[in-house]
């Protein structure tokens, strides 16, 4: 379908339970969405910047949206966000921070780094699913027909 975007959504999440729940909610909202999963910050950056095991990828082939957990092994979410928003090739990718943290400093720092949206994962799963569905603007992006060059 969309040749420019082999991956439509990237989910960066280390916790297996949260990951499974997020996938359940995402599948419910968009059953056919092509999702790539990264389990830590370093893997996420390797994928986006086509480094390491992802050396064969094209950097132009960016996901339409990135759902990013903040507390991640190796490189944490805020550092991933800093790299993405600091690089002209990737700064346009919408990033939604998805985290347990209600800590004000995380919220403030995320917005300072240019995050597009910030969702605190509620304990209540129904509200979590709703939050995922409410990423409507980004879902619409996902469903856009491919742009034909020229």
């Amino acid at each position: 379908m969309n040749e420019a975007h082999s991956v439509e959504l990237m989910l960066v999440e280390d916790n297996p339970e949260d990951l499974e729940l997020a996938l359940l909610a995402l599948r419910e909202a968009s059953p056919t969405c092509r999702i790539h999963i990264a389990r830590d910050g370093a893997e996420a950056l390797d994928f986006i910047f086509c480094e390491g095991p992802y050396g064969g990828r094209q950097i132009a082939d960016v996901p339409n949206v990135i759902l990013l957990d903040l507390k991640l092994p190796k490189i944490d979410g805020l550092d991933v966000l800093k790299r993405l928003k600091g690089d002209p090739r990737t700064k346009m990718i919408p990033v939604v921070v998805l985290t347990s943290s209600k800590e004000q400093r995380d919220v403030v720092e995320s917005y300072e780094l240019g995050v597009n949206s910030y969702i605190v994962k509620p304990v209540n799963f129904e509200r979590f699913s709703e939050a995922v569905r409410n990423l409507g603007t980004y879902w619409q992006n996902l469903n856009q027909p491919p742009k034909v060059a020229g």
């Binding site: 339970e17 949260d18 729940l21 359940l24 347990s100 943290s101 209600k102 304990v123 209540n124």
Partner: protein, 438 residues
């Protein structure tokens, strides 16, 4: 002493000088009397002159020493023959000090004064009483502080014919002064040391407090992240089971899963409330004056006003402006009003009254309801953390809301209290610090 002594020097052959002293008022007596007087005066002057504890040095007009008494010999270690007709007293003084004095006098009298004998007698030569402190140098090179009084010696025509320098050894006084200075310095040092010890202790305590605070910060940050994660799994997977396998489960099975979910959610609420409570102590207050009425209206809207599915009457009187942290005080109003709504839930018509009044000159806000109230016997527990007055199945809650209210009010320097009767509603009052600036 200045001006009372007259010295006549006889410059005979350059070998020696014989000084003859005349005390004023003895000149016109008869010869015999004069001789007697002269003898007496001579004896007196000799005694003064021979005093071992005063240095008397007389010079000619150019400063060359003509007379060097026993006291001078004793103090300075020279014999009269070492110095008389040979040197000026300037050479018995610290050279550097004489230069300094010459410079100071040059500035004072706006005329260049040579750093030699002139510097010692410049003032005396102009009839100005002059006593100064200088360091004298003994023959053996050792030094001592001296106080020197200088007087010009004049002949009958008032011409200056020489100078008299009377000096005393100032060592004892200097030592006393130095001891005093030392004692003062010691005292100052002791005080400085005490201050620095105190400062160090304050710094240490501050560092300890900061470390404790940082630890608490890290702790609550971790709680905020890590404690909620497993709860999400409990709630989320219970829901997934209900969604996917609900129809296959017996009614009890579904109910148990709902109970698991309710438990997880309750714990989530507890964690959130506790974190809010813990954060209140760390958070800085940002005080300003704001419209209480509009804040209360916002809170009521957030609480679901006008509650289409129940009968609620809000009686809001005019509220005076508040001075405090609007974010925290919003939390106070939110907690008090949500309590009022919660505990009137079983009333046919819930009546919530909001107002303010002056008690002892201090603006007091209150929230009154016609709800279930409570027994005033337990009033002292009302604002404690996790204190609940109602069964969970009657009224939900974490037992942290009023503790949060109290902490916020106390941080503003205000007071919060309640008045209630079981089944006859309750009233919560609070005051804020009156004003930030007088």
């Amino acid at each position: 002493m200045a001006g009372t002594v007259e010295v006549i020097t006889q410059s005979a052959d350059g070998e020696g000088v014989l000084p003859i002293f005349n005390v004023e008022g003895t000149a016109n007596s008869a010869r015999k009397q004069a001789e007697d007087a002269l003898l007496k005066a001579g004896a007196l002057e000799k005694a003064i002159f021979d005093s071992a504890y005063f240095s008397c040095i007389a010079t000619d007009a150019k400063g060359v020493i003509q007379l060097f008494n026993v006291g001078s010999e004793r103090m300075l270690g020279y014999t009269a023959s070492d110095v008389v007709n040979k040197i000026t007293p300037a050479e018995l003084h610290d050279r550097q000090e004489v230069i300094v004095r010459a410079n100071a006098l040059s500035v004072e009298f706006a005329t260049p004064i040579a750093p030699g004998f002139d510097a010692l007698v410049f003032k005396a030569a102009r009839g100005i009483a002059d006593i100064y402190e200088l360091t004298k140098i003994r023959k053996d090179g050792t030094r001592f502080p001296a106080i020197v009084s200088v007087t010009a010696l004049r002949d009958a025509r008032n011409e200056i014919i020489g100078y008299l320098l009377i000096g005393t050894d100032n060592s004892a006084r200097k030592r006393a002064e130095e001891a005093l200075l030392k004692a003062a310095a010691f005292q100052a040092e002791t005080i400085r040391q005490l201050n620095s010890d105190l400062e160090q202790r304050v710094n240490e305590r501050t560092a300890q407090l900061k470390a404790a605070n940082d630890e608490l910060e890290a702790f609550s940050y971790s709680v905020s992240h890590d404690l909620r994660t497993p709860l999400r799994a409990v709630d989320g997977f219970s829901q997934v089971v209900l969604d996917k396998f609900g129809p296959q489960l017996p009614d009890d099975g579904r109910r148990y899963l709902q109970t698991i979910r309710a438990g997880a959610q309750k714990m989530g609420a507890l964690i959130d409330d506790l974190l809010t409570f813990a954060r209140l102590n760390r958070q800085d207050l940002t005080k300003r004056s704001f419209d209480t009425g509009s804040l209360v209206r916002t809170v009521l809207e957030e609480l679901g006003s006008p509650w289409p599915d129940r009968r609620v009457e809000i009686r809001c009187r005019e509220l005076s402006a508040s001075c405090g942290d609007p974010v925290l005080l919003k939390q106070v109003w939110l907690n008090l009003l949500s309590n009022a709504l919660k505990y009137t839930r079983k009333r046919e018509l819930a009546v919530v009254e909001i107002g303010c009044m002056k008690t002892e000159g201090v603006e007091t806000f209150f929230v009154r309801d016609n709800g279930t109230g409570f027994d005033m016997r337990y009033a002292d527990k009302l604002f404690g953390v996790f204190q609940r007055f109602h069964r969970a199945e009657d009224y939900e809650g974490t037992g942290v809301g009023l503790a949060i209210v109290q902490r916020i009010i106390h941080r503003h320097g205000g007071r919060v209290w309640a008045d209630a009767a079981l089944d006859h509603g309750s009233t919560f009052y609070f005051t804020l610090e009156k004003k930030i600036t007088p």
